[in-house]
């Protein structure tokens, strides 16, 4: 993405720059014209394998559901995680920040009256909007094709909760990765840390399987399953939570305090990101970078 200096003298200036960012992102996407049409659909391919796998699993057992999920539920779940991850995944954010610290390009944000974090956030929103615009058609196509796996459309409250959780997951994903990237102020090689994060994410975000499957996994503490522990961690809110909400697996009281936990994590990570930025830039200026 091209580096653009924002001088928000007026809110219109900021908006105009943001609009330009949007256009440039769209053009960049269109350059790889063959890629995006095919590429978006290709991303659904691994789900095909997972569907067959779970069908075989259900076929070999007499139970009608596993941890509350029927076979169709699981298919719908995987499809929904594609959607939720489209909101929360931030490719290249942490490594990009770490790189700009390493090669010094972060300096211009120290000098100019522009907030680096806000700038990154605005850029990500632009990127995401572009992505949704171009991916909407393939996504819609797949979901329409697979509508038989889905339960009936949930009620208005559930839908509202779903949308809220999506927006929160975008912010959560952003602030988590941004904070990770800020570690570049203290560590030369952030890639090992990022790798560790990616690994934990992979396992605990619900990307691989619904977290409810961990209900039966003991933790050594009486009455507490692994699923209970994971529900308090931020990871599941980037993929599992929103999907589970739409499928009606989370409702009533649990829905309310889960949303609260998610919102709390957003705040925590936003604050952490801010603190990391303050401390990091102070350290950076002191050492000359």
């Amino acid at each position: 993405m091209s580096e653009v200096i924002i001088r928000p003298a007026s809110p219109f200036q900021g908006l105009r720059t943001w609009w330009m960012m949007l256009k440039i992102s769209l053009e960049e996407r269109l350059v790889y014209r063959g890629d995006f049409a095919l590429g978006t659909l290709m991303r659904f391919l691994p789900i095909v394998t997972q569907v067959f796998l779970w069908t075989a699993v259900f076929g070999a057992t007499t139970k009608t559901d596993i941890a509350g999920y029927t076979r169709n539920d699981i298919v719908a779940y995987y499809l929904l995680t594609m959607l939720t991850r489209a909101f929360s995944s931030m490719p290249g954010l942490s490594t990009g920040i770490a790189r700009s610290v390493r090669d010094g390009s972060v300096k211009k944000f120290l000098v100019q009256p522009v907030d680096y974090v806000s700038f990154l956030l605005a850029a990500r929103v632009a990127h995401k909007l572009v992505y949704y615009a171009v991916a909407a058609l393939p996504f819609a196509g797949v979901f329409v094709l697979c509508r038989s796996y889905f339960p009936p459309v949930p009620d208005a409250i559930t839908i509202a909760a779903f949308v809220t959780s999506l927006v929160l997951s975008f912010l959560l994903g952003f602030f988590m990765e941004a904070t990770l990237g800020m570690l570049g102020f203290w560590f030369m090689e952030v890639s090992s840390i990022v790798f560790g994060y990616m690994l934990v994410q992979y396992l605990l975000s619900g990307h691989m399987f619904p977290i409810d499957l961990l209900d039966g996994v003991p933790t050594g503490i009486a009455g507490v399953s692994l699923a209970d522990v994971v529900h308090w961690l931020p990871f599941e809110y980037t993929a599992y939570f929103s999907s589970a909400v739409w499928l009606g697996k989370v409702h009533g009281d649990r829905l309310v305090w889960s949303l609260a936990i998610e919102a709390a994590w957003v705040v925590v990570m936003a604050v952490a990101c801010r603190i990391a930025w303050w401390r990091g830039t102070r350290r950076y200026s002191a050492f000359g970078g």
Partner: protein, 357 residues
């Protein structure tokens, strides 16, 4: 077999046809065209390009004829995009032509026969053929394996080349740690290890400092004459040409504009010589007008361009003028001649394009 010089393009001198004995490179009507897709500018064009892409055909090489004899040192001279590198790639078999024939050492290059590839070498400036992570010495050994060089000959040739270029202390370092000039020298050593009969050089001195350029010129001259190697070199530096080649092939826009000796270029493409006068003092307007030729004055020095045929009659008069301390008569510098050649050709192209549209 004796091949006559193939017919040259418009500007070349028809009276200089001579037979080439032992031709090593024979090219007839060789042409290469590419289809190039236009890159969209701006958002609307990008969206349109999803559904319909415009393209045009670029003629990189347009029906070229060329014959090179054994032991010749030929320069392909031309501006960027002239097609000289494309021609070289055709002759080394990297790409296949759209039309025409070529034979190098009796082989058709783009068939990429192993026998053929063992008999020539290609060195490209600024592009590495040595294995990046290996020290050069390892690359050389690999070369020996790949080209099946006899071990005794290999050692002798390698030592000889390494000493000629004075790179012995560099061959144990990984290639990526070396400077551009050092890498170029090692590339040349690697290229000559299998004692090729034909050497293709693509802009070998580009990006190198003057000292490195000079070293490489010396080296190439020495090696070429000793082994009677046929060398074809592409460049846009006159310096390379002047230092190395007797024969120059000027290429612009895929066509051969001129094919002959360097000396001839001066004869054929200049109409005047440069006369430099050192006067006692800076001349005034009257003095200048008296000379009657366009002048450039730098203090007491006057530089004039005088028609070559009139030098003999004009010079005595000038020398006889008062206040002339020294005179020198020189050819127009090669760079200028060639640059003007390119410029006039570009002008012709522009007018032709205008008339066509």
């Amino acid at each position: 077999m004796v091949f006559p010089y193939t017919r040259r393009m418009h500007n070349s001198d028809p009276s200089a046809t001579s037979a080439i004995s032992d031709p090593v490179i024979c090219v007839e009507g060789l042409a290469k065209e590419y289809r190039v897709y236009d890159k969209p500018e701006g958002l609307a064009a990008s969206v349109r390009s999803l559904f319909h892409r415009t393209s045009r055909i670029v003629q990189a090489v347009k029906g070229v004829d060329l014959t090179v004899g054994r032991g010749e040192f030929v320069a392909l001279l031309g501006p960027n995009g002239a097609g000289k590198t494309t021609l070289l790639k055709l002759l080394s078999g990297i790409i296949t032509p759209s039309r025409g024939t070529a034979r190098v050492l009796g082989h058709v290059p783009w068939e990429r026969a192993d026998d053929f590839r063992r008999r020539f070498a290609l060195v490209m400036g600024q592009r590495n053929q040595l294995w990046w992570d290996l020290p050069a010495a390892e690359s050389f050994r690999l070369h020996q394996e790949i080209y099946r060089i006899d071990p005794v000959r290999f050692e002798r040739t390698r030592d000889e080349l390494v000493d000629m270029l004075d790179v012995r202390r560099l061959i144990l370092q990984p290639v990526r740690e070396l400077s551009l000039g050092e890498r170029m020298k090692l590339e040349l050593v690697a290229a000559l290890l299998h004692e090729p009969e034909v050497l293709f050089l693509d802009e070998p001195t580009i990006g190198l400092d003057v000292v490195a350029q000079h070293t490489i010129h010396e080296f190439l001259r020495g090696v070429q004459s000793r082994r009677r190697m046929t060398v074809v070199l592409t460049t846009h530096y006159m310096k390379d040409v002047a230092a190395l080649c007797e024969r120059v092939v000027v290429i612009t826009r895929g066509d051969i504009l001129y094919d002959g000796s360097l000396a001839e270029i001066v004869d054929r493409f200049t109409t005047h010589k440069i006369v430099t006068l050192d006067l006692d003092e800076a001349p005034n307007q009257a003095t200048i007008e008296r000379f009657g030729f366009p002048c450039e004055c730098r203090g007491p020095q006057v530089i004039m361009r005088i028609d070559r045929h009139r030098i003999a009659e004009v010079l005595p008069a000038i020398l006889g003028s008062a206040g002339v301390r020294d005179v020198s008569v020189e050819d127009v510098p090669l760079e200028e001649i060639v640059a003007e050649l390119f410029r006039s050709d570009a002008r012709d192209a522009a007018t032709a394009a205008e008339h066509a549209s």
